[in-house]
């Protein structure tokens, strides 16, 4: 199993390693030789020659110092990227271990190289680089990709768990370690209480999101997902705040000077720092949302605005000693909703990808630093401290999980089961955050800093590798799924049907939540915020454009491969076959089962899917489009036959409306005889009257519109005439070409839906899905027409 992984690894990575090695050697050589000059005149590249009287112009010279830092940084990032490519090439690997494992290995590798080549100036991370440049992208990405609705639904539990959990862990671990340090046998008596508490606070910073990808397919339920996500989000902030407060305490030289007043001041500061940070973030979020309202003509700067304002919120909060992390998180959350409505589709994609890229680069660099620290001489190994740290981390996490969830379960409508709690306990994987905080401990206040760093590294390695790799099997075991039993084809089909049915009924039931608070917020949002912060007359741009691009392309493909021929849905043209006599061999059955398992539509994932290192293209989108297109085709076909339902219920008076334009325009009914004779001649376009789009009444004609205006239609095989889809197309085309205003007019209907506050957020999604389908069909009809005709003419 390891071999296939090595194969993609080897050519790239060995090559790169060679290059890196060569450069490091060269650099170390150069460093030795030009050490003096490098130190005195680091930036004066051209003046270096003055120290040696150089008569000749050298044809080929090597100047590594000049590019050293950016060169090495680029090489590391490239190495990490290549490793990731190799990681994902072997498709089973991401499910086995979290990607942070890989990053740590790469970091250790780079560290080994640097150590091995005796690099004179290894990379160091100092406090300002970490806090100003490396940390904000990571936190921004977490805040931006957080799903807001489930977050706010579970916010009580999340705050309770993340806040109190971090505090309990920090103080618990710190106090227990202090007690251990008191035991003289371990030689740790010089580590005082404050240092232990500080260590506790930094070691309790967990990064559970890193393991989410591992048990993604185990159908983790939504609240559990949000717990893990929320904890990761808030944990960093709380750890850093606590860290800073304790550092401030440590700076007060005498331990005995700390009075209860100071402790109270510390608590008050904790709260102010947290709340103040959030407040700053919200303000900056609103400002940036407001500014994106005006950027339609220069959409290229939209990502810039988003990033700069988020970063600004971080810096502004840090200036006032408030929590920058919470500020940037709050900014991202606030900004996201309005910005996504305002910016163009490309800006939206750019923002997402750029954010992922930045955070990925940051994290890679931190892990590289970690690797460099690991392989080095500056360790202090103290068995007692390290072992007890590990033990206490697990114990205190278990205590905090079970105690806090026991309490919060009393207040929740859907309590967390023990299985969920075990998963939360086991997902306490440490990450880059703890290492950074440990590394940045000031040596003056912490004479035994090396020991702390070593202990932190051990905990990180242990949790990431051992817990990260075993959490997958654990979750699958807890899930207790009967996966090994071979089911008959019957059962497979029925199981999948029932899964779809259940998902559908769940969708009918909708999301249940605390209506009052959410409704109030939505009212406020609509009445005031939306008017100020979003552009006028905007469709839900991202979803609309998505549907436009994807549905059209897929529609074209599906039609061209002849899949949607109208014969697919006709009455069976053959009588019931003589059955029962065909004996199928086991291989046939197997192949049938394979066909079924690979080709049946997947059940719509109602749970969230978040991958920290990757923006996965949604495979379910392709499936969704296919289903939508087939549905529209079916309905259109069945309407053509005059039936409203596939199995031929008698058409009532309502169905007569299907055959005419739903806007109540009398002309199309007259036109239908013409349509029946229509043989695909382009020239008939001109005789079609232009149809006025009237804002149709709200009563239930919505779905009919989507059926009428389908731009995509089946191409008749065997010469059946094209039916009324086509003339509709052309009329739309002229119309869409003629007046964009009309195309936008039906929109008020969808926005009107938003105004119904009782409907809750899901109705917006529904409306947008419906509206996007509708308006999406409007827009592509214009372009589609052009691609439409050549295909027609081929017939």
């Amino acid at each position: 199993m390891g071999f296939p992984m090595l194969v993609p690894f080897s050519p790239w990575c060995w090559l790169l390693l060679l290059v890196v090695l060569k450069c490091s050697e060269a650099s170390s050589d150069l460093n030795k030789s030009t050490n003096s000059t490098a130190q005195h005149e680091p930036n004066v590249r051209f003046a270096a020659a003055s120290s040696e009287a150089d008569e000749k112009i050298s044809v080929f010279a090597l100047d590594y110092d000049y590019v050293q830092i950016p060169y090495e940084v680029t090489l590391w990032i490239l190495l990490a990227s290549l490793a990731k490519i190799g990681f994902h090439l072997y498709h089973r690997l991401p499910g086995l271990m979290p990607e942070s494992c890989l990053l740590i290995i790469v970091g250790a590798l780079v560290g080994a190289i640097i150590f091995g080549t005796d690099h004179k100036s290894p990379p160091v991370m100092d406090s300002s680089i970490y806090f100003l440049y490396l940390l904000p992208p990571i936190v921004l990405e977490g805040g931006y990709f957080m799903p807001t609705r489930p977050f706010f639904e579970n916010i009580g539990s999340i705050l309770w768990w993340a806040g109190l959990g971090a505090l309990i862990n920090a103080f618990g671990i710190g106090l227990s370690l202090y007690l251990i340090c008191q035991i003289k046998a371990f030689g740790l008596t010089d580590v005082n209480l404050l240092q232990n508490l500080l260590f506790g606070s930094l070691i309790s910073a967990v990064d559970p999101v890193a393991v989410l990808a591992v048990f993604e397919e185990a159908r983790v339920n939504e609240p559990l997902y949000m717990m893990i996500f929320g904890e990761a989000l808030l944990n960093d902030g709380i750890s850093v705040v606590l860290y800073n407060i304790l550092i401030a305490f440590t700076k007060m030289h005498k331990f005995e000077d700390i009075e209860p007043v100071d402790i109270l001041a510390g608590c008050a500061r904790f709260i102010i720092v947290g709340v103040g940070g959030v407040f700053f973030g919200i303000i900056f979020g609103f400002i940036s949302a407001f500014i994106t309202r005006f950027t339609q003509n220069i959409s290229a700067i939209e990502p810039l605005i988003v990033f700069m304002f988020s970063y600004l919120s971080y810096l502004a909060a840090e200036t006032l000693y408030l929590s920058g992390i919470l500020a940037i998180t709050a900014c991202a959350v606030t900004m996201k909703k309005y910005v996504e409505e305002n910016v163009s589709q490309t800006s939206y994609t750019t923002i997402k990808y750029f954010m992922k890229m930045l955070s990925s680069v940051s994290e890679t660099l931190i892990f590289i630093f970690m690797g460099v620290s690991t392989i080095g001489k500056n360790h202090e190994w103290n068995w007692a401290f390290i072992c007890f740290t590990l033990v206490f981390c697990q114990i205190w996490r278990a205590i905090s999980v079970f105690a806090l969830f026991y309490v919060s379960n009393q207040f929740r409508t859907f309590p967390f089961s023990i299985k969920d709690q075990c998963i939360i306990f086991y997902s306490g994987v440490r990450g880059a955050g703890s290492f950074s905080l440990a590394f940045l401990l000031p040596l003056s206040l912490f004479p035994r800093k090396k020991m702390f760093v070593t202990a932190t590294l051990v905990v990180i390695y242990f949790t990431v590798f051992i817990q990260g790799i075993t959490i997958g099997p654990l979750v699958r075991y807890l899930d207790v799924r009967k996966t090994n039993k071979k089911e008959s084809i019957n059962e497979e089909l029925h199981i999948r049907l029932m899964d779809h049915l259940k998902a559908g009924i769940e969708d009918v039931c909708g999301q249940w939540s605390h209506y009052q608070v959410r409704d109030k917020f939505k009212k406020f949002d609509h009445r005031y915020l939306r008017k100020i912060l979003t552009r006028k007359n905007q469709p839900k741009s991202s979803i609309v454009s998505l549907y436009k691009k994807l549905e059209m392309k897929q529609a074209i493909e599906m039609v061209e491969t002849g899949i949607l021929s109208s014969t697919a849905f006709s009455v069976p043209h053959q009588a019931q076959r003589i059955h029962g006599t065909k004996r199928l061999s086991p291989e046939d059955v197997e192949s049938m089962r394979d066909i079924l398992t690979h080709n049946m539509y997947q059940v719509r994932q109602r749970t969230l899917s978040y991958n920290k290192y990757n923006l996965k293209p949604q495979t379910s989108e392709k499936q969704a489009k296919e289903i939508l297109i087939r549905r529209q085709n079916t309905l259109r076909e069945s309407m053509r036959k005059g039936h409203s339902l596939p199995w031929g219920k008698p058409a009532g008076t309502k169905n007569i409306r299907y055959l005419s334009f739903p806007y109540g325009h009398p002309q199309p009914i007259r036109r239908d005889p013409k349509v029946a004779d229509f043989t695909g001649d382009d020239s008939s376009d001109s005789e079609l009257p232009s149809i006025m789009f009237k804002p149709y009444p709200r009563t239930g004609t919505l779905k009919k519109e989507t059926q009428e205006i389908i731009p995509m239609k089946s191409f008749p095989r065997g010469g059946k005439p094209c039916h009324f889809g086509y003339p509709r197309n052309t009329s739309q085309e002229e119309h869409v070409g003629a007046g964009r205003r009309e195309a936008l007019r039906p929109k008020p209907l969808f926005h009107a839906v938003d105004e119904e506050f009782e409907s809750g957020e899901e109705s917006e999604e529904e409306a947008s899905a419906g509206g996007s389908r509708w308006s999406a069909e409007h827009r592509p009809s214009k372009q589609y027409h052009r691609s439409h005709s050549p295909l027609l003419q081929r017939k």
């Binding site: 029925h494 199981i495 049907l497 259940k502 019931q576 549905r631 309905l635 779905k703 899905a769």
Partner: protein, 195 residues
């Protein structure tokens, strides 16, 4: 007038509907959901209202699920009807079965009734049997476009063959139940929030 509507709902339908769901907490939420879906405050849901649910549009069985809310060719479903369908998906309580009065009709969320609900998704012409053609239609709905027609037909043949015991070429309700006897229907067809 929404207030009066709600009073009407509750006064008239509280008892039997409440019993269907076994409690009034989920009833209230379902009522909110019903009202949210009922866009024009008609007091009933039509097919179009349910088609507005975007997620159902990308569900391969979307249309059939919607149709199951409108039994017997009705064009409207009122709140008790809405609840009646959803009551099939209540999780089964273990203590329910013990205390049940045998004279009362079986609760809607019993295994039999759940299976009956699934059966009627297949059996469109309501003749009590899933014919080969009906099975083929369902299969076609659920499988992607890259499977050829011949493959679908042979899979259908096999499916009907496996379940059919009396050789009539169709799957009756009893045969259907028998083919699924090993499956944990109660767990598969239960929605947690309806408890």
């Amino acid at each position: 007038d929404p207030k009066r509507c709600s009073c009407v709902y509750f006064e008239v339908d509280l008892n039997p509907t409440c019993r269907l769901l076994g409690g009034s907490a989920s009833l209230l939420r379902l009522y909110h959901r019903f009202r949210a879906l009922d866009r024009n405050k008609k007091g009933y849901l039509s097919r179009v209202d349910l088609q507005q649910i975007g997620a159902l549009a990308v569900n391969p069985l979307g249309e059939r699920i919607i149709d199951s809310f409108f039994p017997d060719g009705n064009l409207r479903v009122d709140f008790p009807g809405f609840v009646r369908v959803l009551a099939h998906f209540r999780p089964v309580d273990d203590d329910d079965s013990g205390m049940r009065d045998p004279k009362q009709p079986e609760p809607l969320n019993s295994r039999m009734n759940k299976l009956r609900f699934v059966f009627q998704l297949y059996d469109l012409d309501r003749d009590g049997k899933i014919s080969r053609h009906e099975m083929l239609q369902v299969l076609r709905l659920m499988v992607g476009v890259q499977v050829t027609e011949e493959q679908l037909e042979s899979i259908t043949d096999r499916t009907v063959q496996e379940a059919d015991e009396d050789g009539d070429g169709a799957v009756s309700f009893l045969e259907f139940t028998k083919s699924l006897e090993k499956m944990d229907i109660e767990q598969k067809m239960s929605i947690r929030i309806l408890k």
